[in-house]
């Protein structure tokens, strides 16, 4: 099991968004910069080493998406769909999307996180992905 990959997300959500797994981001205590994923090397904005874990809620809006036809990585067989998501908490993440391959996803679509079965061998039981939040405009 790859501890680093497992550390990317929490099975539970945030207080504000309990039903969707949260992302394990970080926050700089000196300048307030929010980033993902958490790291301890230093703040990209100000260089401070005073960094704290900061849960990023698993909800945001789609910025862009693309269906990938050619895989460069045998562990990620094509086709699959990826998206860029601007989270409500101010982070920007890119993830594989749980959608049909030909889904026409408009920018601004509300997306939420969910755990799916991990298919890569050394990454633990679950992978985090985003999908359109159903039942919302």
């Amino acid at each position: 099991m790859d501890d680093q990959a497992a550390a990317l997300f929490a099975a539970q959500g945030t207080g504000a968004l309990p039903d969707h797994p949260a992302l394990n981001g970080g926050r700089c205590k000196a300048c307030g910069y929010i980033f993902f994923p958490m790291q301890h090397y230093g703040c990209e904005r100000c260089g401070s080493e005073e960094l704290e874990p900061w849960l990023i809620g698993g909800r945001g809006r789609l910025v862009a998406s693309a269906e990938v036809h050619v895989s460069m990585n045998p562990r990620r067989p094509a086709p699959y769909v990826v998206g860029s998501i601007a989270t409500d908490d101010g982070a920007v993440v890119r993830s594989i999307l749980e959608v049909p391959a030909d889904a026409d996803l408009a920018p601004g679509t509300v997306m939420t996180s969910r755990l799916v079965e991990e298919t890569r061998p050394d990454k633990g039981p679950f992978d985090l992905r985003f999908a359109p939040e159903t039942g919302r405009p």
Binding site: L23, I34, H69, V70, S71, N73, R94
Partner: protein
């Protein structure tokens, strides 16, 4: 107060040379590089003995490849430095060769880029920071996402963005040093192999092998060596930068806007003065972003003006007249130096079938993974 390259000793490009960019072959990098350097020396009409310092750009060949190549020109003991800066390796080598001459430390310097694709993937040492789906998002998918974002934001059909490839393949067809020398119709571009999102294979650069070399000289060097000042092209500005902290999905463009503005300003020109532009068009969408970043047209206007012919050879500004990374190719280390070679050819009026009429100012731009960015402006 920091100084600009234009504040120092004036620097000129006096020689350019290439080994044609091509698909991976059994030819050694030594043969590729030597052909480009010998062509540049011959073009400059100087002997190897006159070169005081050598900057060797590569990203994929491994450690210390310079002297095993340069020794075959005569091992005379002059300094050699290797420069690796991802796709911008050649641009970085050119900048530092110019800085050495501009500082007065040398009168004559060589910048040479040479590379061959690795047999088993590109190695990048791990940072220890994981990511969610980095292993599912190759560069072509990063740019497929940006294509989706741009086309929806500016209401430009992705099929029209593919017209960049049609233009650049047409230019590459006129360039004997290009890896792809075949004109392509829009139907051929769109009907080719689907890669990611709306990107097809002919909208993506073919990374191959090759070499490019330029000789940079001071005014004193031109006089001392008795060179023809009429074929010397002035390096009017050099600007470089790296990505700032932000949650930006398109860091290359943010960095390019800033670096372009500094380079064009340092050259005391406006964007409308540029006759020729070579930029980092590894994927069609990149040409839109970086051309708009120069200020030659407002954001979202690149494609409508492309359809009017504004960016063709003979148009308002020839963009990627060499064929760009999409058709001329992108062997990594040579690419940024090859752009300088194309602009020198254009400003000398020696570009033949690719000649932009009355070209007096040209701009070369590269970004590299990281991100880093280099912009040079050359003038007659």
């Amino acid at each position: 107060m920091a100084r600009l390259i234009s504040d120092l000793v004036p620097v000129y490009v006096v020689g350019i040379g290439f080994h044609p960019y091509q698909y991976a072959s059994d030819t050694s990098y030594v043969a590729l590089g030597l052909r480009a350097i010998r062509e540049a020396l011959a073009d400059a009409r100087i002997d190897w003995e006159a070169v005081e310092s050598s900057y060797v750009a590569n990203a994929l060949l491994g450690m210390a490849v310079g002297r095993p190549m340069l020794r075959h020109l005569g091992a005379l003991g002059s300094p050699i430095i290797h420069i690796e800066n991802a796709s911008a390796s050649g641009s970085a080598a050119f900048r530092h060769a110019c800085i050495e001459v501009a500082s007065g430390i040398s009168d004559v310097a060589l910048a040479v880029g040479v590379d061959k694709p690795p047999k088993s993937g590109i190695f990048r040492s791990p940072t220890g920071i994981p990511n969610l789906a980095e292993d599912a998002i190759a560069p072509f998918t990063h740019f497929a996402l940006l294509t989706d974002e741009y086309s929806r934001k500016h209401r430009i059909a992705p099929e029209d963005i593919a017209l960049v490839a049609v233009k650049n393949h047409a230019n590459g067809a006129k360039n004997p040093n290009a890896q792809r020398q075949k004109e392509r119709t829009l139907e051929e571009v769109l009907g080719g192999k689907a890669i990611s999102g709306n990107l097809t294979a002919l909208q993506c650069t073919p990374v191959g092998e090759g070499a490019a070399a330029v000789i940079v000289v001071s005014e004193a060097g031109i006089k001392r060596l008795g060179l023809d000042p009429g074929r010397a092209v002035r390096v009017a500005s050099s600007a470089a930068g790296s990505q700032k902290a932000d949650n930006d999905l398109n860091p290359d463009t943010a960095l390019t806007i800033e670096t372009m503005a500094r380079a064009i300003g340092e050259a005391q020109l406006g964007p409308g003065d540029l006759d020729v532009i070579e930029l980092h068009d590894a994927f069609t969408i990149e040409e839109l972003f970086y051309a708009e970043a120069t200020g030659i047209c407002p954001p979202g206007r690149f494609v409508p003006m492309l359809k009017e012919g504004a960016w063709n050879i003979g148009g308002q500004c020839a963009i990627s007249p060499s064929g760009g990374l999409i058709a001329m190719g992108h062997p990594i280390g040579p690419t940024g130096i090859g752009q300088i070679g194309e602009i020198v050819r254009q400003l000398r009026g020696e570009a033949g079938a690719r000649q932009q009429p009355a070209a007096k100012a040209g701009l070369a731009h590269m970004v590299g993974v990281g991100a880093v960015c280099y912009v040079h402006v050359l003038t007659r």
